[in-house]
């Protein structure tokens, strides 16, 4: 019965998110809408929880159920009445329709010329094995084993449980009440039909968010670069050992990163193809990251703005201001935190330079098992990509790569120049925080190499 109720709730959320995406982004492929439905529904659900709390009502099956029913009803009626805005929303750049699509790299042709098809199938097989093992490990920890990770039991799940019991947002009596509520709202919405707290359901709800986010990223990458590249990218992202661990029972960080990855990919697409729909969807996903964890405000929205404005100004494009109003949806939470006299971050510490932490940080990055050998590969890739950019072989550096670089510099400043250095010394947060820049760099690196090889595939020798 519990499984059935869980599945029904999940399906309802996916339906809600998919309907929203079909209305707001009618040109989005159906499969992508379905995959993105759950991550978007998680944001809508968080906004609904916040609105109900702000209106003085308690969270219970009645209010939340009514809220969702109203939302789904509105979306269905909107869709049914043909109120979909069919005019092309993508004209916000230059008054012209977006380019049809990304230049197709012909999927599996990267290693063409040396009869590489068998090699590519070997890579596909290895990727499938790696992904299967990764998601098996993650699913056992998320769906079979109980909560044991200290961050889960003393912060995330405990706060959700306390809020479920209180039926309202809690600003006292819980650890770090200033953390945003996307994950809490997501867990609670599954608990309401179950009539009480269910540890497995709570972990399954967030695991489903991980699964759907990676599936959505796969489909988005496949649309632009082909299935082979999409598979390689997802495998590269999940091949970082700490990601495997966090996919199981990690909280906050992994979901924040998933929203960053989706948003960065769509921001890249939006800017490159001058596609306002991708840009708006990217904005929504980065707003979702700000509702997931406080880092989403500065590492997410802050860097999003920087890259959005920066790339538009550097490439002398018209700045698509139409997406700006969307960010109003990110503001309620910091306002709520400020109104309740809480600090925006529980980690507020003064500026102090820690010279001795620098070699230690690099030592941990290079010798411990959290990142495998990723931090040896990334510098090499960066040197190659910057060289190719300098030689103008690579037309531009992808947004996820720049986002990753900004996030990396930011993480170094936090750990080497503030009191957060304790998180490096005791290894409590250093590795987790570096996951976001690393995964963004991997995503950006894959996109950049694909672009180089796309030029290879599309280029034909000139006639002599």
């Amino acid at each position: 019965m519990s499984v059935l109720l869980f599945c029904l709730t999940a399906m309802l959320l996916i339906l809600e998110g998919t309907l929203f995406l079909r209305i707001a982004f009618p040109r989005l492929e159906r499969a992508i809408s379905l995959a993105l439905g759950y991550p978007i529904a998680a944001l809508l659900n968080a906004l609904l929880f916040f609105a109900i709390d702000a209106s003085g009502l308690r969270w219970n099956a009645g209010t939340i159920g009514m809220g969702h029913a109203l939302l789904v009803g509105m979306l269905v009626v909107w869709l049914w009445m043909g109120q979909r805005n069919r005019e092309d929303r993508s004209e916000c750049f230059s008054g012209q329709a977006p380019r049809a699509s990304m230049p197709a790299p012909r999927g599996i042709t990267i290693f063409s010329g040396i009869s590489w098809s068998s090699f590519q199938w070997i890579v596909v097989a290895l990727c499938m094995i790696s992904l299967t093992a990764t998601f098996f490990v993650a699913s056992t920890h998320a769906l079979i084993l109980p909560s044991s990770y200290i961050d889960t039991v003393s912060n995330w799940n405990l706060r959700s449980r306390a809020m479920l019991s209180a039926g309202t947002l809690l600003t006292e009596g819980v650890v770090k009440p200033q953390y945003p509520i996307l994950l809490h709202a997501l867990q609670i919405v599954f608990m309401l039909p179950l009539r009480g707290w269910h540890d497995t359901a709570a972990n399954a709800a967030t695991f489903l968010l991980s699964l759907s986010s990676f599936l959505a990223l796969f489909l988005l990458v496949r649309r632009d670069h082909g299935a082979f590249i999409a598979l390689v990218m997802i495998t590269a992202l999940t091949s970082v050992p700490l990601v495997t661990v966090h996919l199981g029972q990690g909280f906050g960080d992994i979901h924040l990163i998933q929203y960053f990855l989706l948003s960065a990919f769509l921001l890249e697409r939006g800017i490159r193809l001058e596609d306002c729909a991708s840009l708006a969807l990217s904005a929504m996903l980065v707003i979702a990251s700000a509702w997931t964890k406080l880092e989403g405000f500065y590492e997410g929205i802050g860097f999003w703005f920087l890259l959005w404005l920066g790339s538009s100004m550097i490439e002398r494009r018209k700045i698509p201001w139409q997406v700006l109003p969307l960010f109003l949806f990110a503001l309620p939470w910091p306002l709520f935190v400020k109104l309740h006299h809480m600090l925006l971050s529980p980690h507020n510490r003064g500026f102090e330079f820690h010279f001795s932490a620098i070699p230690l940080g690099f030592f941990y990055m290079g010798t411990e098992g959290s990142f495998g050998i990723a931090w040896y590969i990334i510098p090499f890739c960066l040197v190659i990509l910057f060289t190719l950019r300098f030689l103008k072989i690579l037309p531009r550096l992808p947004i996820p790569l720049l986002w990753g670089l900004l996030a990396m510099v930011f993480a170094f400043v936090i750990f080497f120049c503030t009191g957060e250095v304790s998180g490096l010394y005791n290894q409590e947060s250093f590795h987790r925080v570096l996951l976001a820049p690393l995964l963004l760099l991997i995503e950006g690196g894959v996109i950049a190499f694909v672009e180089i090889f796309t030029n290879v595939a599309d280029t034909t020798p000139p006639s002599s």
């Binding site: 990267i110 961050d151 449980r161 050992p241 661990v245 590969i377 090499f380 290879v456």
Partner: protein
């Protein structure tokens, strides 16, 4: 000119020869190694402090009045194994590590092994130092902790460091160290310590290998590029009609967009770099994923059969028992006893919500219940004793790993 298929065949041949050479070297190492000492005791890598506590509790079954003690021995000589002669009435849990004078505690806590010496009079046991992930032939010796119960001390006669085995044996040991699982602590997923081989991190070894191989490939490819540029120039200057397809195209660094084109040295270099990346990433995954897979299966099996997860003893069983035997309200408080009571109290606080759970010393007087998840407790003259504290109470339930659930009598 070499065709693409012949290049592929050559690559496969080189790769096969490399794999065969590695296989042959491994076989030679295996054949030449000396057989293990018959008195060698099997050991397990330590993944968490709770694991050691649980083992000591499980083996020694101490009560609150029979406190466990540890004896600390530092053995400064490098060697391959420890030979211990002793007499003990109970099995002897031991914890040992490669000595590291640079660290405050004298050893690296990421490279610890735990083992249990059999009980008996005039016993002799061998602990393999080579099994330690941090072991290297010219290491700094070892650190050994022996655990004993206060009322059953171990009579330790000698501990000697022995240097045994040949070169193949040592090389084989380093290879075998790779079999050691990743120390993965389920209650703290903030870091993975990684694998250690011959005192060096596997991430470092493969990372340096990747850098070396990538640099080598880059140098070879740059030489090829240089050669193609020279050929291009000589082809242009001679004005010959039959030029290769490479020479038909413009200078590699002056023309866009044909600078990275199929068959060009630049495209080849990028392909080679990606191949090297895939191979080295795959090598790390080859070690990590089977390990994570196997460890997850073991955890699931333990959970299904014993209802135990991580190193927290009977914490989940105790929470279920308390939920079924009492109505938990926001004012209900449980005191948590034992060495890991900080971690266990946090888990119990979540499992018992809306009731609260705290380490025993914080709430002993106002707690309605006490939970000990291991053997470190005693019932003495109607009083429950743990962590040096005592209070009248009734045992509600005991658990398979030594834990207990106690309801305190109301304080007067």
């Amino acid at each position: 000119m070499m065709t693409s298929s012949s290049r592929a065949r050559r690559s496969i041949l080189v790769f096969s020869v490399l794999v065969l050479c590695l296989g042959a070297a491994t076989l030679v190492m295996f054949l030449l190694r000396t057989p293990p000492d018959p008195r060698e005791v099997p050991s397990t890598i330590v993944t968490s402090g709770e694991q050691v506590t649980t083992l000591v509790e499980r083996v020694l079954h101490p009560s609150a009045h029979q406190d466990t003690q540890s004896r600390h021995e530092v053995l400064p000589l490098p060697g391959t194994q420890l030979r211990i002669r002793y007499s003990a009435a109970l099995p002897v849990p031991v914890l040992y590590a490669v000595a590291d004078a640079a660290l405050a505690q004298g050893y690296n806590d990421a490279n610890l092994l735990v083992s249990v010496l059999p009980p008996g009079t005039n016993q002799e046991a061998v602990l393999s130092l080579r099994a330690l992930p941090g072991w290297k032939p010219r290491g700094a010796g070892a650190v050994l902790y022996l655990f004993q119960r206060g009322d059953q001390p171990v009579n330790l006669r000698t501990i000697a460091v022995e240097d045994r085995g040949n070169l193949a044996d040592r090389a084989w040991s380093m290879l075998v160290q790779l079999r050691r699982s990743e120390p993965w602590q389920v209650s703290s997923q903030s870091v993975l310590r990684g694998y250690v081989v011959g005192g060096m991190s596997l991430a470092f070894i493969l990372g340096v290998g990747f850098v070396a191989m990538a640099v080598l490939v880059a140098v070879v490819d740059l030489l090829m590029l240089w050669k193609s540029i020279r050929e291009h120039h000589s082809g242009n200057s001679s004005g010959q009609g039959s030029r290769s397809s490479l020479q038909q195209w413009p200078h590699p660094f002056k023309a866009h967009p044909w600078m990275v084109r199929p068959g060009s040295p630049q495209a080849g270099a990028l392909r080679h770099f990606l191949l090297v990346t895939i191979i080295f990433l795959g090598l790390y995954q080859l070690r990590f994923l089977p390990d994570a897979f196997a460890s997850s299966l073991v955890q699931v099996q333990r959970w299904e059969t014993e209802h135990v997860y991580g190193g927290t003893g009977d914490v989940y069983l105790a929470a279920d028992a308390l939920r079924s035997q009492a109505t938990l309200t926001p004012g209900t408080v449980a005191a948590v006893c034992g060495r890991n009571h900080g971690v266990e109290a946090k888990i119990l606080r979540y499992l018992l919500f809306p009731a609260d759970a705290f380490p025993s010393e914080q709430v002993w007087r106002r707690a309605a219940f006490a939970i000990a998840t291991l053997h470190e407790w005693q019932f003495y003259r109607g009083e429950f004793v743990c962590d040096g504290l005592h209070r009248p109470g009734t045992i509600l339930q005991t658990f398979p790993h030594g834990g207990v659930l106690v309801r305190f009598s109301p304080s007067r």
